[in-house]
Subunit: 297 residues, 2 copies
């Protein structure tokens, strides 16, 4: 089992209104993950609001997580930034501190070309020495990776995996086949987007980068284990059971919904960074209902 | 003539590879604009790479521009940031230093809702006291303003204008009518996107936020004056003449093209901030050809 396969759990990063990370609250969340059986923790992913935190606060979050996990779960750390030099510094920080790998998204303001994204990734890999997972997340970066670019990047030393948004179930086999044809053998192909992840795993995806597992690792692990046992029917049954939560993720974004979950469960009372607002009360009540229905609260 | 009408010229912000602004090079560019007759200078717009510059460097650019313009041309300054508190600080800086107005884009990573954008803008206006122009630029922010939201924002004290991307010529009259119906009387409606700006002005737009005028103010002023003189045919002739440059703006982005222009003209030799790369040589040659054909070099 290589590092970037299996289930990677993405927690939120509790912080105050000024963007200062709360190490105590982060430890509470990480304690649910350490020893749960997840294959890695995706610290400072999009759900971990990396884009909204300063370099110093990102260091503080990683320091906290390294201490809380004590080597028992590898840490995959978001190192994306708008500027290439800043992403290099963040990746150097993560490497120097002891992260297992970095998650690099092509964060953009001016839309980027394929060649610009290639140079950005190659520079961060080369200058940091941190193994990198390509973070393909057009919903936030507005950059679309084609198989050709993924294939070019997969041959850059230090670029070790890719995380793609899971397509609609009827398209996932073709997506996987196109990527497999483009990358070297054994290059792990993983998926995010919890509501389509079960089908992506059944189709042969190597990893699930999961928001739900950041709070409820068992819910993710149960689905992953059913797939690994060859029991697609059981995986689909477990996935269908989660549909009330998936529907809320799709309606309000998984980020806003997991902040509400953590608050409703009394795990931490952090709000997402403004301008992102906490869910309005009516939506929050729907989240509370889903947690009760799923026996997750 | 209110502040945010007429021609606003948007220069690049020359900076080194580490993102340090070059005041001397910025002065060379600003000298072309002061006294040219442009109605305002759009400092630190998208073309001015505000999103890629630190707060300290944005202060340095504004300090340079205030000194170089000496009150002769009002400065409209980009104050956008991913976090609301950071945008507040940038707007407070601009207000305290002497900018005439701020240009605020809903910079996003996690996609924002209308209510989130409303709160973001209202907070920056309230906490800074800086008059704000709504910067609607879905090509970089990936947020789409509808007339309803513009109408709500136009009633917030301190929000004084809107800059929209100029639609295709056949759609501009309807776009203007929809916005006019949503905002209070006299609220200036301006447009960016140089290649459609002439038609937007002919249709009744109040302002042109122009990249080309950041380097070639006369080219923009000639079109604006023809429109103001009621000579749409002359405005269209002048606009059609610029088509070689518009085609390059559309193919490679106006930002990359004006960096190449400034370099080819010997005005400054700055490169855009990485990951954005200078134009490849073949494209650069096309830019050189267009400058020669237009007698602009």
């Amino acid at each position: 089992m290589t590092l970037l396969t299996g289930l990677s759990a993405f927690p939120i990063t509790p912080a105050d209104a000024e963007g200062r990370v709360d190490p105590g609250a982060l430890r509470v969340l990480l304690a649910r993950l350490v020893g749960s059986g997840v294959d890695s923790i995706g610290l400072l992913g999009s759900t971990g609001t990396y884009a909204y935190l300063s370099r110093a606060e990102r260091r503080r979050a990683l320091e906290t997580a390294l201490d809380a996990t004590a080597g028992r779960v590898p840490l995959l750390v978001g190192v994306g930034a708008l500027r290439t030099d800043e992403a290099v510094r963040l990746a150097q920080d993560a490497k120097g501190m002891g992260a297992a790998a970095g998650l690099l998204a092509p964060v953009s303001y001016t839309p980027l070309t394929d060649d610009e994204v290639f140079e950005h990734f190659a520079t961060v890999a080369r200058e940091s020495g941190l193994p990198l997972c390509i973070y393909d997340n057009p919903g936030t970066t507005h950059f679309r990776f084609g198989p050709d670019l993924v294939g070019r990047l997969a041959r850059v030393p230090g670029i070790v995996a890719v995380k793609s948004p899971a397509p609609e179930p009827e398209g996932v086999a073709a997506h996987l086949a196109a990527l497999r044809a483009a990358v070297p053998e054994g290059f792990p192909l993983g998926y995010s987007g919890d509501w389509h992840a079960a089908e992506a795993l059944i189709a042969g995806g190597d990893a699930w980068y999961s928001v739900v597992a950041g709070l409820f690792p068992e819910a993710g692990l149960a689905i992953l284990r059913a797939v690994r046992a060859g029991d697609a029917a059981e995986a689909r049954r477990l996935d269908a059971r989660m549909r009330p939560l998936w529907d809320l993720f799709r309606a309000f974004s998984s980020l806003r919904v997991v902040y509400a979950c953590a608050d409703l469960m009394g795990l931490c009372h952090a709000a997402p960074p403004r301008p992102i607002l906490p869910l309005p009360e009516a939506a929050r009540q729907r989240v509370a209902g889903a947690l009760r229905a799923l026996d997750l609260s």
